[in-house]
Symmetry: C2
Subunit: 183 residues, 2 copies
DNA sequence: TAGCCTTTTCAGAAGATATTGAAAGGATCA
DNA sequence: TGATCCTTTCAATATCTTCTGAAAAGGCTA
């Protein structure tokens, strides 16, 4: 692919973005497709994606659909053209919000439910216990509570950041800085 | 393992924590070991970890070391005992800070460097270009700049949150809420 | 409806990652 | 020093994930 400097630069970024995605639990190829579309000046069709990344039709189809499920890319149709075209969300903040919202829904909320359930479980025969056994249960309970509190705090922070949005976050950061210096 | 409700609860949490870790690019077993140690009332030795999670000595050794590298657990020695014991960081906020710092170092900073390098690459023959080619390069440049700006903002937010710490973040959240309502 | 173009699906292959278990390496003690 | 106990290493293996490519399905047009 590398030919012009711009192609080399895009190619380099796409590879790195893919590698980074892999360490965050996103398949390398999916992250590469995302990067490719993010940098593309125009919406791309499946064949173009296949060619640029040297992947099979099946893989392209799967990864494009998955990205669509995440809400990170959009499917477009063009009049007089049977092909489908794909376009990535261009606003990085929007992208971040989308990813965080999905991850919260898929991963954070379930673990919060689990923790609540765990707490209920150990509360079952809590009052019957005495001495060391009781101490251990209380201890465990506290640890569950700590994680839960943390998750709730992160949710709050995320909500505030979403609300503030791209332009707002900078002012928010300033506010925090000021607040920290004053306290 | 499940016997007493507390064991069942711990076991459930450990499994879920492991699953969640897996979706965030941490191996399931490593996350399970971490959860096990986080909930343990006392430091545990390798054999106890092996037994509780039904994993091999090799796996236990590797995962414990990896957790130590991340700074999430500590290795302890006891007088008159040749075994090594492991203890997890108990403060959830500290834990979060450690994870974020490591991830930033390992994954965010490298991608920021890459983006800077990409920007330099496309700047090489930028002035020579005209018309559409030039427009495309400018466009691409802007996208790189957007991501970079985002990464920098996240760094700032992270630094502020670390500084604020456990107790501070709650007040900070309140401040932001107020600020957003007022603006 | 048939023909054409495109997308989706999925079983099998390939590739990546994690685990095992046994041998080697270290440390401590008598 | 030798015996003992514990940890680390690593090649082989198992497991999990992702990719491929061809067949099936979907859908538009004439």
């Amino acid at each position: 692919m590398p030919q012009e400097p711009i192609d080399a630069a895009k190619s380099l970024f796409i590879r790195r973005w893919g590698e980074m995605g892999a360490t965050w639990g996103i398949s390398r190829t999916m992250a590469e497709v995302h990067a490719l579309l993010y940098l593309a000046p125009e919406p791309m069709c499946t064949d173009e994606v296949m060619d640029q990344l040297a992947i099979s039709r099946g893989s392209a189809s799967m990864n494009l659909r998955e990205l669509e499920n995440w809400g990170l890319i959009q499917r477009l149709h063009r009049r007089g053209d049977r092909k489908e075209y794909f376009q990535a969300e261009q606003d990085v903040w929007q992208m971040f919000e989308t990813i965080m919202r999905e991850r919260r829904r898929r991963e954070v909320l379930p673990i919060m439910e689990t923790i609540e359930r765990c707490t209920d479980m150990i509360d079952q025969n809590h009052t019957k216990l005495r001495g060391d056994a009781r101490r251990q249960v209380d201890d465990c309970r506290q640890r569950f509570a700590d994680i839960l509190e943390f998750c709730e705090m992160m949710n709050t922070m995320f909500n505030l950041m979403s609300q503030a949005g791209r332009t707002g976050v900078r002012s928010v950061a300033k506010q925090i800085g000021k607040f920290l210096r004053e306290r």
